[in-house]
């Protein structure tokens, strides 16, 4: 599950760059760019806390041991 969420988070960041590049190439309109960037932003903040905070917790527990 964690790996799955991580993959989504990574894909979201890559997606943001790809959408911007497509806008540069003229394949995506201004309106579509804004919607995609907002959607990617929401997805990032929904998915990233799951694995990023877990990773921090795991690191801390490793150190505590």
């Amino acid at each position: 599950m964690r790996v799955f969420v991580q993959v989504i988070s990574g894909a979201v960041l890559i997606g943001m760059v790809v959408v911007s590049a497509l806008f540069y190439a003229g394949s995506v309109s201004d309106d579509q760019l804004r919607k995609w960037l907002l959607a990617c932003t929401v997805l990032w903040f929904v998915t990233a806390p799951f694995w990023m905070e877990r990773r921090q917790r795991a690191q801390q527990e490793t150190q505590a041991d």
């Binding site: 760059v17 911007s20 590049a21 540069y24 960037l37 990032w44 990233a48 905070e53 505590a64």
Partner: protein, 539 residues
């Protein structure tokens, strides 16, 4: 700029204002976290290179980047001066972390404050704390200003211009006070939660800055009609359209290659040459981990600055005048010239507009509208989140600095008071619109203490004196250090005010002055140690 946001790594700014090797995100089960504030960091707590790469990359992509990049454009910088000035200046900053800060950090393994206390004495450290606290407060104010510009997009109130010192609308004042109040309450009550959020936001912020750059470039390409088929075409667009150079905008200092280079090198002077990052790098296994700062420099102080600069240049290029402004332009006989798109990118043309009464001053640097224009709501969210996640630890640290001066006061009250003062300063756009000068001033004020630490650590033994003079002589106020600090700041200030030396340049001579003064004054004030000299560190 570096403003203390960790980035999912094990290095985190902790409740004591120092950097801990543990995460604060889940502090409850394992508190209290040992921050090694008054002892050497043990070998078991040392961290690998990856932790520092994450730390620096997260810290240096912050809300301030949204102001600094555009202010370069307002300073009339050319493409060559900007790109190569940043490349070399950032390299010098990385080398400063690697060869000045890290070697002391990894040998002594003390926090900056512990090191200062050993060298300068407790009372002088309190003064340092006060200076730092004031600077942090003003910086937090600047961050509040940046975030408040996002509200202007929705509420359409009048926002400050580039050269404004005072607020120019009631809406602006209300927006700043609301944003500042919110930031303050969160910093006082929910610092840890927002610090966790900042960790999560950091990678997204880096990508958003990149998106700004790509989108702005695309708009430039479309507006100018330039076809970009090669790197040469891209460079031509950069130098002929985006950063044309020429005079600075009215009221600004002209930036050359040297200005950009020294600014990039010294904007974090308090952290590398000023030694504030002793606290971070004391956890490094090897001193060359200072090279990890390159992640922050080239993501934040190169990519993010350039992308933010492009947003402002785009605003200048695609400027939309109101019907009244167009009429004034036509009355002044400048309308045809304006339509040619050659018009608004140079200072002389802006001066013509001002003289014709079309504008009151140069176009404002307003991150909210700029980001919204480029990327819509996601851009606006970046402005708010970048400002907030940067202001949060800055307010917290300012509160801690003042709390250290009055140890009996509560951290909560100190943060609330600091936040209120920061909010009031944010109402006045002076610091934000003069952020380049403010950052240089910060470095100039705190840099001498780094030079003193450097001289104490490396040079005193060579001149037959013992290091850690305050500890050895039982001093609470090391006069040699105090005089070296004060005289350096006075000389540097005099050079700026009367000698015509730009503030961005004085850090370099200032460092040599502080070092020489500290060594010289320490030699003059030699006396018998009150405690036996012992090797307190591993060098």
């Amino acid at each position: 700029m570096c403003w203390f946001r960790s980035c999912g790594s094990k290095l985190v700014v902790t409740a004591a204002g120092h950097v801990s090797a543990h995460s604060m995100s889940d502090s409850v089960p394992h508190e209290p976290v040992n921050e090694y504030e008054h002892e050497r960091v043990p070998d078991s707590a040392l961290l690998g290179l990856k932790s520092f790469v994450g730390q620096y990359a997260g810290e240096h992509v912050a809300g301030t980047e949204l102001m600094i990049g555009p202010l370069f454009v307002a300073s009339g910088v050319s493409a060559f001066d900007l790109v190569f000035g940043l490349l070399i200046g950032n390299l010098l900053a990385v080398l400063s972390w690697t060869f000045m800060t890290a070697p002391i950090a990894t040998r002594a393994r003390f926090t900056l404050y512990h090191q200062l206390e050993q060298v300068c004495g407790r009372k002088l450290v309190v003064l340092y704390d006060a200076a730092n606290g004031v600077m942090f407060t003003l910086l937090a104010g600047a961050m509040i200003t940046v975030s408040a510009t996002a509200l202007g997009v929705g509420f359409k109130f009048r926002m400050p211009g580039l050269n404004d010192l005072l607020p120019n609308s009631v809406g602006w004042v209300i927006a700043v006070l609301v944003v500042g109040g919110l930031f303050t309450v969160v910093a006082a009550y929910g610092y840890k939660a927002l610090a966790r959020f900042a960790n999560v936001a950091a990678p997204w912020m880096v990508v958003m800055f990149l998106a700004f750059g790509i989108v702005a470039l695309s708009r430039f390409k479309t507006s100018s009609g330039v076809n970009i088929a090669s790197v040469g075409d891209l460079w031509n667009l950069a130098k002929d359209v985006i950063w044309k150079g020429g005079d600075a905008f009215p009221g600004r200092v002209k930036f050359t290659f040297w200005h950009v280079m020294f600014f990039a090198w010294f904007c974090n002077m308090a952290w590398h040459i000023g030694m504030a990052d002793l606290t971070v790098l004391r956890y490094a296994r090897k001193s060359w981990y200072g090279l990890a700062s390159a992640a922050g420099m080239y993501l934040g102080h190169f990519m993010a600055w350039i992308c933010a600069a492009m947003l402002y240049a785009l605003q200048l290029y695609e400027v939309n005048l109101t019907p009244a402004e167009l009429k004034a332009l036509a009355d002044a006989g400048l309308l045809e010239s304006f339509k040619s798109h050659e018009f608004l990118l140079t200072a002389s043309k802006i001066n013509e507009l001002i003289q014709a009464g079309v504008w009151q001053g140069p176009p404002a640097v307003l991150p909210g509208p700029m980001a919204f224009h480029a990327c819509g709501m996601a851009g606006l969210l970046l402005v708010v989140i970048a400002g907030w996640t940067t202001a949060n630890p800055t307010l917290y640290r300012a509160g801690l600095a003042f709390q250290a001066i009055a140890p009996g006061s509560s951290r909560f009250r100190a943060t609330i008071c600091t936040g209120l003062v920061a909010s009031l300063t944010a109402v006045f756009p002076l610091v934000t619109m003069r952020l380049l000068d403010f950052v240089a001033l910060w470095g100039m004020i705190l840099m001498p203490m780094g030079a003193i630490i450097f001289a104490d650590f490396w040079l005193l033994r060579r001149f037959g004196m013992a290091p850690y003079r305050a500890a050895i002589y039982g001093l609470t106020w090391n006069w040699a250090a105090a005089m070296a600090w004060f005289v350096t700041v006075i000389v540097c200030t005099a050079l700026v005010l009367s000698g015509g030396v730009p503030i961005f340049f004085v850090g370099l001579p200032g460092w040599f002055i502080a070092t020489a003064l500290y060594v010289g004054l320490s030699r003059l004030g030699r006396r018998r140690p009150v405690i036996a000299v012992k090797r307190q560190n591993a060098y």
